[in-house]
């Protein structure tokens, strides 16, 4: 077997992530090679370097045995390197087909040969089981489907070295199986697959080789068959993994949130985005919403927050909030951790202290009447940074400079600072490192004990089962099952989510 990609002693300083001090890895053709490590350990940086998006300060990159200098992703693509990003890079207002061929359009004279493109995409969709309607606009797709588009996009460009950045973060077990099936197929065809993840059981299932990075350094290179998940975890963090668990029943009598027959009809009159959703959520209770991405969870959140019109009724602490604006709902004490932090929760180019104001601009401590209290805001930003271990130089640092985990800790801290009675938490630990994950779980546990009600939406089934008092399964916009997390296995939950059971 030949070596497809080799990195030798890569060093790099990059926005928000630990300096890559010394990363080396060898990826052979016809293998799946996992790169594991906590978020912030430098995995994504290494991959960005390999994909030409960043340039190493020192070190060597060899592709198929030749040292290369990757100036930009085009160089990488030319060498057959393709990347499926963690944060999707798709044009919302283009169709799936247009997104896939964007930048590599088959020409038909001066026009684009959509027919040929469509045929090729359809064929690939089928071959890899990546089923997406090519003519739908990307903005109408859920996160899971967007990822499929990303994968198709890379395959379309004929990549033979594929990088997957946390590809399973948004998938349910059955979909993970499908993806892994596709990865095995790619491997059989002699491609090199680089698989970035911090989910160790998945890594051990799919990978041949594993490279572990910690704090910007390669700490181990092992064969997957020679190690256990525990050994890998220890290599990764040097300590035990936190568990998503809650203790005891903290449920109180009063109902914090009540949904009654809530539906969101579509403009076109086709199937409702969410349909006849009803449930009660008590103070001190966590209700987990399980479902494959794109089955109405995002819309449910939007309905609760008032971001979308709905029929039916939503009550908060006993009185209806249907007529209330988004701002009013925030101010009543509903907190939100949105699913896509960079798009929905942060002003990336603004300093942290200004981001502290976002969503809280109608009250203390950031406002004095209608006037922004800059001094108090900066003080409170410092408090959040300290309490929630947000690693950044100070409140003046731009949000963009922080790593994903630190951004998320900041957002959680910001939402918790108004002590909400209800927290709508959408993927609260998606893409954050193990340490931050444990910290966020701890915050939620504590608030639950104090009587906060939580609507938890997550694609991480362990998190969902571990943190929830009750599980509601959403399928095609409707609640199809209610499960007791204590008596449900991940497999049963996965089946319920896909409607197989």
């Amino acid at each position: 077997m030949s070596v497809a990609v080799e990195l030798r002693h890569i060093t790099k300083r990059f926005p928000g992530v630990v300096a890559n001090k010394d990363v080396s890895m060898r990826v052979e053709t016809g293998t799946v090679h996992a790169l594991v490590g906590e978020n912030g350990a430098g995995k994504s940086t290494v991959m960005k370097i390999l994909y030409g998006m960043q340039h190493p300060d020192s070190g060597e990159i060899l592709v198929n045995g030749t040292a290369v200098n990757l100036k930009n992703p085009n160089d990488a693509i030319e060498l057959g390197i393709g990347m499926v990003h963690q944060h999707f890079m798709l044009a919302d207002n283009f169709t799936v087909l247009e997104n896939i061929i964007l930048g590599a359009e088959p020409q038909h004279g001066v026009t684009i040969d959509f027919k040929a493109a469509r045929a090729k995409v359809a064929e690939m969709s089928k071959a890899y089981g990546l089923d997406v309607d090519p003519d739908i606009l990307v903005e109408e797709l859920g996160v899971g489907q967007r990822q499929r588009v990303e994968i198709l996009k890379v395959l379309y460009r004929g990549a033979n070295i594929l990088i997957f950045d946390e590809p399973t973060a948004v998938l349910v077990p059955q979909e993970v199986d499908d993806l892994f099936g596709a990865l095995q197929g790619l491997r059989a065809k002699g491609m090199a697959v680089i698989f970035i993840s911090h989910k160790l059981d998945e890594v051990l299932r799919v990978a041949d080789d594993v490279t572990v990075v910690r704090a910007g350094e390669t700490v181990a290179e092992v064969k997957a068959k020679d190690v256990t998940a525990r050994q890998l975890a220890e290599l990764m963090v040097g300590s035990e993994l936190p568990q998503p668990t809650t203790h005891g029943d903290t449920r109180r009598a009063e109902v914090t949130l009540a949904l009654k027959d809530v539906s969101i009809p579509t403009a076109t009159g086709s199937r409702d985005l969410i349909s006849h959703v009803s449930f009660n959520l008590h103070a001190g209770e966590v209700v987990g919403i399980a479902g494959v991405e794109g089955n109405g969870q995002a819309e449910l959140v939007e309905a609760i927050m008032g971001l979308r019109e709905y029929t039916g009724s939503i009550e908060f602490q006993g009185s209806t909030i249907d007529h209330m604006s988004v701002a009013h709902r925030h101010d009543l004490g509903i907190g939100l951790i949105p699913e896509d932090r960079q798009r929905q929760a942060l002003m990336m180019n603004s300093p942290l202290w200004e981001n502290r104001v976002l969503g809280h601009q109608r009250g203390k401590p950031v406002m004095r009447g209608f006037i922004l209290d800059k001094k108090a805001t900066i003080e409170d930003t410092k408090r959040i940074m300290e309490e929630f271990d947000v690693r950044a130089p100070g409140p003046m640092t731009a949000a963009a400079a922080l790593s994903g985990g630190n951004q998320q800790k900041f957002i959680v801290g910001r939402e918790m600072s108004k002590a909400p009675a209800l927290l709508v938490a959408s993927h609260p630990t998606r893409g954050v490192d193990v340490g931050a994950q444990g910290a966020i779980w701890e915050v939620l546990r504590e608030a639950r004990t104090k009587g906060m009600a939580i609507v938890l939406i997550s694609a991480d089934l362990e998190e969902l089962v571990g943190m929830s008092d009750r599980l509601l399964v959403m399928l095609r916009g409707a609640i199809t099952a209610e499960l007791d997390p204590q008596k449900t296995t991940l497999e049963q939950l996965g089946s319920a989510m896909t409607g197989a059971a």
Binding site: V17, A327, Q361, F370, R391, P393, A400
Partner: protein, 367 residues
């Protein structure tokens, strides 16, 4: 981080200095192309431009630029772009001259009334674009450009058909002259009292004070109030702003209407302070130059004041170029090259700063 290190000062100065060097270079090429000495051109401009009378003229030129630039900056800060200032100010000027001449009020009240007319007309005109944007999703850049053409047509039509009065022995059509109570006082008497020597034929438009006040209000509202925060949030990340409870449609509407209202004011220095009527000689292009002023001033109150003065200075001082047989329009090349090079220079410095910040962060995180 907060302290002024030499590095920080160097960074702050790097962009404007680089921009100045590049633009002087480009402008020199333009002068050289007409076989004249750039050095001679600059010294002539400087000598003429720094005379007392010229400086007053610079202030008078900069005043409407500044007000119009603030109007544009309001929308820029909200992630919108009002190109329609030209039309809004023209309509505002015409109506305020016409309606203002219909009645007489005590001096201050009369001026205020004219302000209200100008702001209302500008705001209403902008509200068409705002309505189209909010209700129909029409891009405000397109609609305001089209509304500009419409405004030029409408003002010409109304002016020549209905609003203008013909004065015997004059070729210049103009609206009825405003009563004295609506005139904005000239600042020269005040300046003389403060010890500034009087200049022959020199005048300083009193609207300068209004422009300065507007600058302060703009700074305060945008940077220090909830409204300003929501405006900036809508510009920085409209999705996040909406999720956090900002009514984005309302914000878009308000930003465009406020912008139109301020734009309406920018026609008043001429109407209230100089001609005391709307006439055929009403200066065109203020609304477009103001876009460049806002861009160069980076939408900040102080920055725009500087760039308005700079543009005014170039415009006034370049009149002297005619004396040495260089086309005075050279100033347009200067303005253009300053704008272009500063936009580029600021972007380069911004990226450099981000890299620095990242390095600093890497130190903190790995520590």
């Amino acid at each position: 981080m907060k302290k002024l290190s030499p590095q920080k000062i160097a960074l702050a100065l790097a962009a404007p200095l680089a921009a100045a060097v590049v633009s002087i270079f480009v402008s020199s090429l333009a002068v050289l192309a007409s076989h004249k000495s750039p050095f001679n051109a600059y010294t002539t401009m400087w000598e003429f431009g720094t005379q007392g009378g010229s400086l007053m003229e610079v202030l008078n030129t900069a005043t409407p630029y500044y007000i119009a630039a603030i109007a544009i900056a309001v929308t820029f800060r909200a992630g919108l772009f009002n190109i329609g200032v030209e039309g809004q100010l023209r309509l505002g000027a015409l109506f305020s001259a016409y309606i203002g001449a219909m009645f007489t009020l005590p001096p201050v009240l009369h001026v205020l009334a004219v302000f209200i007319v100008a702001m209302t007309i500008g705001g209403i005109w902008a509200s068409i674009a705002a309505y189209l944007k909010v209700k129909r999703g029409v891009n405000e850049v397109i609609s305001t450009i089209m509304l500009n053409s419409l405004a030029v047509g409408v003002t010409s039509f109304l002016f020549s058909k209905y609003f203008a009065v013909i004065t015997e022995g004059s070729n210049n059509l103009a609206t009825k002259e405003l009563p004295k109570s609506a005139w904005f006082p000239d600042l020269v008497p005040l300046l003389t009292k403060l010890g500034v020597p009087e200049q022959p034929g020199g005048s300083v438009n009193g609207m300068l004070l209004i422009a300065i006040a507007l600058g302060f209000i703009f700074w305060f509202v945008v940077n220090r109030t909830r409204f300003g925060f929501e405006l900036r949030a809508s510009g920085a990340n409209p999705i996040a702003a909406r999720v956090s409870g900002v009514n984005s449609k309302k914000m878009t509407f308000i930003a465009l209407v406020i912008s139109g209202a301020i734009a309406g004011l920018s026609g008043l220095p001429a109407v209230l302070g100089e001609t005391h009527s709307y006439n055929m000689g009403f200066r065109s292009g203020i609304g477009f130059s103001a876009i460049a002023v806002a861009l160069l001033g980076r939408n900040s109150a102080g920055g725009m004041a500087f760039s308005a003065l700079l543009f005014g200075f170039l415009e006034v001082s370049s009149r002297a170029l005619e004396l040495i047989d260089i086309a005075p329009e050279t100033y347009v090349i200067m303005q253009g090259s300053i704008l272009l090079s500063s936009v580029i220079a600021y972007e380069v410095v911004r990226r450099f700063k981000l890299t620095l910040q990242s390095k600093e962060l890497a130190k903190v995180v790995s520590a």
